[in-house]
Symmetry: C2
Subunit: 191 residues, 2 copies
């Protein structure tokens, strides 16, 4: 998606430690014109997939999940939680997800009543690198006997390989911008 690629080129920053900093428009501060257009694009790609629910994991995927849901005729959104709260259901699915940003593993959970075997789930997240978060969410969907209809991502770090591995396994993974190479001087997108 050219608009997102242009934003990344013009406003993104490549920092040491393989960090692509896009918090001026994609996370922390959200450019909602961009979010509206990204959501239309994702909605168009998955329109024939009979999606019943959007699934993401807190926190930074929630905004895109919500705006994609509005673009797809107000589909329900569910999100997996990283932190146990006092009012959590007793019956939940659980999977570990390793976060390279925070350098630790989380158990993420979702109440069983929100995922049924008839659900066709579109997984949405802002970033995909090694694919740990998406694999965790696919695992939750499988535990419920539901179907992963597809995965929609704003920015994929293509050179880390997680996305291509998911595609090789037959997942319909649609990323709006795939970074194939980046350093302080240049960012190269997959055509």
């Amino acid at each position: 998606m050219k608009l997102l690629q242009d934003k990344i080129i013009n406003e993104g920053q490549v920092l040491s430690g393989d960090v692509l900093k896009v918090d001026g428009f994609l996370n922390q501060q959200l450019d909602m014109d961009l979010y509206a257009k990204m959501s239309q694009e994702i909605s168009a790609h998955f329109s024939a997939k009979n999606v019943t629910k959007i699934l993401t994991v807190e926190a930074s995927g929630i905004a895109l999940a919500a705006t994609v849901a509005l673009a797809m005729h107000n589909l329900p959104v569910i999100f997996a939680k990283k932190h146990s709260t006092s009012n959590r259901d007793a019956d939940f699915y659980c999977t570990p997800i390793f976060s390279f940003t925070h350098n630790k593993s989380y158990n993420v959970t979702i109440a069983k009543r929100f995922l049924t075997k008839d659900d066709r789930i579109l997984i949405v997240d802002d970033f995909l690198a090694r694919g740990e978060a998406v694999r965790g969410l696919i695992n939750l969907v499988s535990q419920a006997g539901a179907t992963t209809a597809g995965v929609a991502i704003a920015v994929e770090k293509g050179y880390q390989g997680g996305g291509d591995q998911l595609r090789a396994e037959g997942i319909d993974l649609y990323s709006l911008a795939i970074v194939d190479k980046m350093d302080e001087n240049a960012i190269t997108f997959r055509p």
Copy 2:
């Protein structure tokens, strides 16, 4: 807002420990028809306030902040973060917020470049009880020399007094449903 009150009556649950469980439509699973209508209502209330940005705190306020932003002609959303990450700006505003749900205090932060003295901020969150989160966010706005144009909340626990205290201080606080009393048998809303 009658639609939200009806949802709370029909699908909400009052649990011990003063917990109003609404995770089937307001958090964890989000009813996006409801979110779209709540956002229109909030947008209408604050339309004359010249709001420049929507501010919330991760995680559960993000969805409502994003949908309100779309309803208000794609205003930018910014959110305060609870967790330090490796790519955080060196220059940030910080305030402690005590969470009764998690029974601990968080330092929440926002990069200074996202809040300027010319900003007129609409604070959005899903819940307000004692008002700790909103006070923390107002504090961040003040630190930047910006203006709090108003506060929009989905569900306020009116009987805990945090909301009325903010109103007494002159804050334009607009809650879509104010619970004045609740127990296992009944939930009473403020007219």
